[in-house]
């Protein structure tokens, strides 16, 4: 289990973390709109995270921080 934090100030809602997450626990928050007008990504199930870092590797905006 790891803690995935998405900084919504940086997130542009491109969805690459959603596409690359092997556990399929990243989703775009369609209810939230950031200051720049995007739907930011968030982790829906922290318990299932294996800390593979795929989301952080593919995030073009370095918005993701992962803690154990």
């Amino acid at each position: 289990m790891a803690k995935v934090t998405v900084d919504i100030e940086y997130c542009k809602g491109c969805g690459l973390c959603v596409d690359f997450c092997p556990q399929e626990i990243m989703q775009l928050e369609t209810e939230v709109i950031t200051q720049k007008g995007y739907h930011p990504a968030h982790c829906v199930d922290q318990e299932s995270c294996t800390a593979c870092l795929n989301c952080a590797m593919m995030c073009p905006d370095v918005a993701i921080m992962i803690e154990r």
């Binding site: 491109c14 596409d19 995007y38 590797m57 995030c59 370095v62 803690e67 154990r68």
Partner: protein, 265 residues
């Protein structure tokens, strides 16, 4: 590389309750980039910054930003930066490196900048064996100006200025920069990488690190070509653009090491 960065972060935080596995590198500023959502510029930029930090050279590095989408890269890197005229980044970097040989000098250029207007500067800096590192982003299109045909656009590729697809009879063939430069003796290291999957991101990080190490050892010109996407001007979602890259760009631009002066050792 990033996993190793994560390892260092883990060691640093061992005593703490929440060891950080991945965090934003201090070699990037806190500025929000101007790139479109899903643009791979951001990943490449992070890899360059992480390598500067890992090699401990962020404070002694001077980067040269080009004209193109990454024109304001000086806002994003925490090292010193100079902004060059269109295509002239290798010439500016030559001057910087000759005046300050102890500093690390890199340029960060796109395909319209490096392979079109800056082709002469690139080839001559390479053949002179200038001890600089060039990071070359190849996304087969002019991004910032709205999706015109670039020297690297694929045959048949539809762009703003080739609405029926690139016709090789009138527009010629794409330029493969790594193959072109590989015949020059001044070149120390040439590698083509991509950042379409997490494993390829890690390989790209290693290649970029090698470029900086060759410069540190004074071996000569190094260029790392990063095959990249432009979801906005290709008219695709970021993930579909990655698939298009794998299906169309990688067959024309094969990944691999094109020159390595240490290969024989």
């Amino acid at each position: 590389m990033a996993t190793k960065t994560a390892a260092t972060a883990t060691q640093r935080n061992k005593a703490e309750k929440n060891p950080i596995l991945f965090e934003r590198t201090p070699a990037l500023t806190t500025a929000i980039t101007n790139y479109c959502p899903g643009c791979l510029h951001g990943i490449t930029q992070r890899l360059v910054a992480e390598n500067l930090e890992k090699l401990g050279i962020t404070g002694t590095t001077v980067g040269v930003s080009p004209v193109g989408c990454s024109v304001i890269a000086y806002e994003f890197y925490a090292c010193d930066m100079v902004q060059a005229a269109h295509g002239r980044a290798p010439a500016v970097a030559t001057g910087l490196k000759r005046a300050h040989p102890e500093n690390t000098v890199f340029t960060y250029q796109g395909d319209g900048d490096l392979a079109s207007i800056g082709m002469a500067e690139t080839i001559h800096a390479a053949t002179r064996g200038e001890n600089i590192t060039v990071i070359f982003i190849n996304n087969a299109i002019y991004g910032m100006t709205g999706g015109q045909m670039a020297p690297t656009s694929l045959p048949g590729q539809v762009t703003q200025t080739s609405p029926y697809g690139r016709d090789v009879k009138t527009a010629g063939y794409p330029i493969r920069v790594c193959e072109l430069l590989s015949s020059l003796d001044g070149v120390a290291f040439l590698q083509r990488v991509t950042v379409d999957t997490p494993s390829n991101v890690r390989k790209a990080a290693k290649a970029i690190r090698k470029g900086f190490e060759y410069q540190r050892d004074g071996l000569g010109f190094s260029l790392i070509e990063v095959v990249s996407t432009c979801p906005t001007n290709w008219g695709m979602t970021p993930y579909a653009a990655l698939e298009w890259l794998r299906e169309n760009m990688l067959p024309y631009y094969p990944l691999g090491v094109y020159k390595d002066c240490k290969a024989g050792e």
